[in-house]
């Protein structure tokens, strides 16, 4: 059936048609919409699968590996930092012979935090015994996903797969695709019934054990499985062509038969190269194109054959391997052509788009060159990076004028105007309020989240105080490192870890916990908007019971984590909850935290207009209702005792708070009555002095 789909929607369709049984994913741009679609498909009853919202990508891959080890067909999608965080479990999947399939919306790995697509994420996993299918467009994504399960689950292969497409460039582009019929796919891809992995008390098996000298033997098995996969891929592609009429292979050699010059590429760049080949051929130039469709296993023989007559080869690379002169796919091409006389040049396109005119310019140089060369495409050093050094007046800099850098004055806001947060973002208001208590002494460490996306973007920054972003999962540890270094270097300042709820409750909990346990003087400002709002509203560990998000379509089941209890379990920590609607109470707590020589945890509930679905003007009113209804009580926790700091004279019904938010609009009066009872119980507990 013809459908008009984005790359991410193709990922979801491909997974659905493959009848995946377990899906586990964690929000990350630009891959999130694919897992959101799968949630919707399950919600509509189109897909019978368990969808697990995890606390991190490492957790997502862990769930997939666990489910695959128990014999289920499993799926995840991610990219960039997410894939990097999964790394350990990727090796577990291939080591245990688990054919998990991951759709990768390739994205540049930070730092700096890139948003466009290069292949540094997937190609870094080159040696993890994972099949890698590099897709050009949406159609190829759907087809490759279906085939990836057939190939990976083949007894000779039993390896995980990446179905790689390009983040944003393909994932967010819409095109018409031919979506196969489910019954045809069912015939092509039968139910997964593995013989080698299962949970069976009558046939107990120990998996993942230690080995001593046998390690190379197991590694060799993976190596051979990869070699065998080439034959299996070719067989499966033939069968796929018979069943669905679209033919794929390890490579696509386009007009290479008599070509003297051949361009080599992977992914979407191939589309433009194919068009250019036609154009050059019309001019009588003997030019061809080779598309590497499968990167692992690397199709050496096919490459050698396709390039056998070429005198010149130009490899377009989306990822480099610093330390080696060539890009990653060029290294492989050179290895395959080691006995060839061809001149192999390499152009590093990294995350850049390549236009028709660009190819013309590249071609002209390549045609004239009488030797090999390696070149970076449009990656000249950005002069603004240098000119910003020591200066801070952007407008004058753009005009080329030199300005002495002003020192940030006492009393100046920590965060400038012009921050790109949504209109009515009270999180930003809370962050400003808190930081301005510290003024010039604030040193800010930030986890990934709304703030990291809106506060600074190269070459501009909104920060008037030192600001550090490291990664999503690691801010607790990195902040500890800064604290230790500040002591050592005698730097007088207040270290503030500004993190959202996802960052503290979920992905960053481990390193934050360790930082608390070690007792670093880190003041943690957790601006809690009760979900992954930066990636477009998904459920986090802090999302309250009943709230609708894109990954809890019928309202969240289960409960939000009681983070205060978790933090309190670490010992001597100053804990306080606060609300943007009560600035005096909030500031009092911040000043208290500032006065302590120990860690502090300030938990500020911040309504989010798009995430909570309300008119942006009502942010403060909703925050106030949260306190007045007891849904978000304000208290401090010191010396093992809770002290409520704002007790509403007349407690408002919870319904008044919930009914102002679209995310609770599906709740019935009975649901709310249940939630009211829970709120009452919590308040009772807090009033008695317990967390």
């Amino acid at each position: 059936m013809k459908m008009f789909l984005s790359g991410n929607q193709c990922i979801a369709q491909g997974a659905k048609l493959s009848r995946v049984e377990v899906v586990a994913a964690y929000p990350i741009t630009p891959a999130t919409p694919a897992s959101e679609d799968l949630h919707e498909m399950v919600g509509r009853g189109e897909l019978d699968a368990e969808v697990v919202n995890t606390e991190s990508e490492l957790g997502a891959m862990g769930v997939c590996v666990g489910a695959a080890a128990a014999g289920c067909r499993t799926f995840s999608c991610t990219c960039s930092q997410g894939l990097a965080l999964m790394r350990e479990m990727l090796w577990a999947a291939s080591g245990m012979a688990l054919p998990v399939v991951l759709a990768i919306d390739s994205r540049e790995i930070g730092i700096p935090q890139g948003l466009l697509s290069d292949y540094s994420d997937c190609l870094s996993e080159r040696d993890a015994s994972i099949l890698q299918f590099m897709c050009e467009d949406g159609q190829e994504i759907i087809d490759s996903l279906i085939m990836a399960y057939r190939i990976g689950e083949h007894e000779k292969v039993l390896l995980p797969s990446f179905v790689v497409s390009e983040g944003h460039r393909v994932s967010h582009s819409f095109e018409t695709v031919d979506v196969p019929e489910q019954e045809d796919v069912d015939k092509f891809l039968p139910k997964y019934q593995p013989k080698h992995v299962f949970v069976d008390p009558d046939y107990p098996m120990s998996m993942g054990t230690g080995v001593m000298p046998q390690y190379p033997s197991f590694k060799m098995q993976q190596y051979r499985a990869m070699q065998d996969a080439k034959t299996v891929i070719k067989e499966v592609c033939d069968e796929f062509a018979d069943a669905f009429g679209r033919r794929y292979g390890l490579v696509e050699a386009y007009r290479t038969e008599d070509a003297e010059m051949v361009m080599v590429g992977m992914g979407s760049v191939v589309s433009i190269l194919r068009e250019k080949v036609d154009e050059y051929r019309e001019k009588g130039l003997k030019v061809g194109m080779l598309k590497l469709r499968v990167f692992r296993p690397f199709p050496e023989e096919e490459v050698r054959e396709a390039l056998s007559g070429a005198k010149k080869v130009l490899v377009f690379d989306r990822a480099c391997s610093p330390g080696n002169e060539y890009g990653i796919s060029c290294i492989e091409i050179r290895s395959a052509l080691r006995r060839s006389q061809a001149l192999i040049s390499n152009i590093m396109i990294s995350g850049r788009d390549v236009s028709s005119e660009d190819v013309d310019a590249l071609y002209d140089k390549w045609a004239e060159a009488d030797d090999e060369y390696v070149e970076w495409f449009k990656a000249d050093f950005d002069p603004r990076a240098v000119s910003m050094c020591g200066f801070d007046n952007f407008e004058k800099l753009v005009k080329g004028e030199t300005v002495e850098r002003d020192v940030v004055q006492e009393g100046e806001a920590c965060l400038s105007k012009g921050i790109m947060s949504c209109s009515g973002c009270v999180s930003l208001g809370a962050i400003r309020m808190v930081l301005d208590v510290f003024g010039k002494k604030a040193i800010v460490v930030n986890n990934a989240g709304c703030l990291s996306a809106v506060g600074a973007f190269y070459p501009m920054t909104g920060w008037n105080v030192p600001f550090y972003f490291f990664s999503y999962s690691n801010a607790g540890a990195a902040a500890s490192g800064i604290e230790v270094a500040m002591k050592r270097k005698g730097i007088d300042g207040d270290l503030i870890l500004v993190a959202g709820d996802g960052a503290i409750f979920d992905i960053g909990l481990q390193t934050y916990s360790a930082a608390l346990e070690r007792g670093h003087r880190i003041i943690c400002l957790c601006y809690d908007n009760e979900g992954y709002m930066n990636t477009g509203v998904q459920c986090s560990g802090s999302t309250p019971h009943g709230a609708r998000t894109k990954t809890t379509l019928e309202g969240r089941r289960g409960r939000a984590k009681n983070m205060e209890q978790i933090v309190a379990a670490h010992g001597d920590v100053y804990i306080a909850t606060a609300s943007v609607a009560y600035p005096d109470d909030l500031l009092k707590k911040v000043r208290k935290a500032k006065s302590f020589d120990k860690p502090s945890f300030l938990h500020v509930i911040c309504p989010c207009p798009p995430g909570w679905e309300y008119d942006p003007a009502l942010g403060i009113e909703i925050a106030r209702l949260g306190v007045e209804s007891g849904a978000t009580p304000l208290y401090e926790y010191e010396d093992g005792k809770v002290t409520l700091t704002k007790v509403p004279k007349v407690k408002k019904p919870l319904a008044e708070y919930l009914r102002k938010q679209g995310r609770f609009s599906h709740l019935t009066d009975d649901d709310i009555a249940e939630m009211q009872a829970e709120v009452d119980r919590k308040l009772e507990r807090l009033t008695a002095g317990n967390l």
């Binding site: 407008e395 850098r405 790109m420 009270v426 973007f457 105080v465 942006p616």
Partner: protein, 96 residues
Amino acid sequence: MDREYIRGAGIHAAGTIAMVNKTGTWRLTDPVVDQFKCIGCKICSQFCPDDCIVRLVVDKSAPAGTPRITIDMEYCKGCGICAQECPKTAIEMVQC
């Protein structure tokens, strides 16, 4: 000590975002202040998430209608929190 950009994607500047991102262009409604109603309390400026409201120093004996606040329209995103929270309903959001 010398500070110099060498490598590592650090932005050796401060507050530059304000010079480029004039978030006032996002506005769909303008806050309009009735200076006769405004009593110059700090509520709107405290709640403005974008730091766009400044309280002016005004003498108590100043005549009625003397402006007590100014709104930085270059950056105001028009969220309407100030109008919603004003205890004297001195701010109205007007379609722009």
